[in-house]
Symmetry: C2
Subunit: 193 residues, 2 copies
């Protein structure tokens, strides 16, 4: 399981045996069952997550309705906003599938960064990459219709459509579950012609 993590890290920096052991000694790995809630609205958690296997989602509850705004799958990391802001969380995080992830907190990051400055570099690169990706995603979302967004998702993350319930996908696309159903039927109808 560790191998997945080290493979990922090796894309950004190379680690010595010592450094690997330092990481392993932190005991980061956790297995969580489908449906487990990792973070609740109102909590002041300090936990950061990195998904090794499985899928977790972020969602708000607005007027009693769940609004899923993000999914994180293999090789994707999530620093909840409350960790950065030190305020109570505005949202929930829970497991869509049985999931294996690493759980860290900012102090551990600081420790590692002091011992191994390489880490600071990797974190900066990761954060910049993520920001760039995020902005492109946001732009695509703004400039396209729900139908285009769905077709786009079908291209870019076909796995998500398989592994995630429709009603969660719907709010991820910014629409209601009924509209997603209808939209899918419409696309199917078009493709028949």
């Amino acid at each position: 399981m560790q191998d997945i993590l080290f493979d990922f890290i090796s894309k950004y920096i190379s680690l010595t045996e010592d450094e690997r052991n330092a990481i392993l000694s932190l005991d980061l790995f956790r297995s969580v069952k489908k449906g487990t809630t990792l973070l609740k609205e109102g909590q002041k958690s300090q936990e950061e997550y990195f998904v090794l296997k499985g899928c977790i989602r972020k969602y708000y509850i607005i007027d009693g309705e769940e609004k899923t705004t993000a999914f994180y799958t293999e090789m994707e990391g999530l620093v909840p906003h409350c960790v950065v802001s030190k305020n109570p969380s505005e949202y929930f995080i829970s497991c869509v599938e049985d999931t294996i992830l690493t759980v860290t907190n900012p102090d551990m990051g600081v420790d590692l960064n002091v011992k191994f400055p390489k880490f600071e570099i990797m974190c900066r690169i990761l954060s910049e990459e993520l920001l760039a990706k995020q902005q492109i995603n946001f732009d695509e979302f703004k400039t396209s219709s729900p139908e285009q967004r769905y077709l786009n998702l079908l291209q870019k993350r076909p796995d998500l459509i398989q592994r995630v319930p429709q009603h969660q996908l719907a709010s991820y696309l910014g629409i209601k579950p009924q509209s997603l159903s209808r939209l899918r039927a419409r696309i199917l109808e078009k493709s028949k012609e």
Copy 2:
């Protein structure tokens, strides 16, 4: 003019006289007239911008139509995606108003980071803050209707609605100019009752 920049930096790190001079010696400041295009689709620019005064916008041209996806005003910085990806730009950047900004390139950043490691720290903090803000923004966009988005903007950045043309605001809100007009009329109508 420099004071604005140093005031901003001082929120994150404190600078010595030497460091200030090193920054000033780089000759970063540029004044640009309203309407000037800083970056065109297809270009491989290496320029990063930080707005000291004025307003710039990022827009795509899709099917011959301008789609504005972001505005950057005082104290906001922008690293175009093409700088990170080294690919031709997917979008344009131009000035909504007469604007004063700093223009840097990644090499200058690297130089500064080597001479003054503080800079690396500030960049990381900025990038993390920005990512967090960006994600909250995206979540809000996904979970609200065009009308809610407009009302939200009215709360959070009332200045934008004054200084930016309506048709640019419209695509920023993910809708057509006509729809924004109608939506505003609708809100006005409601508030009369």
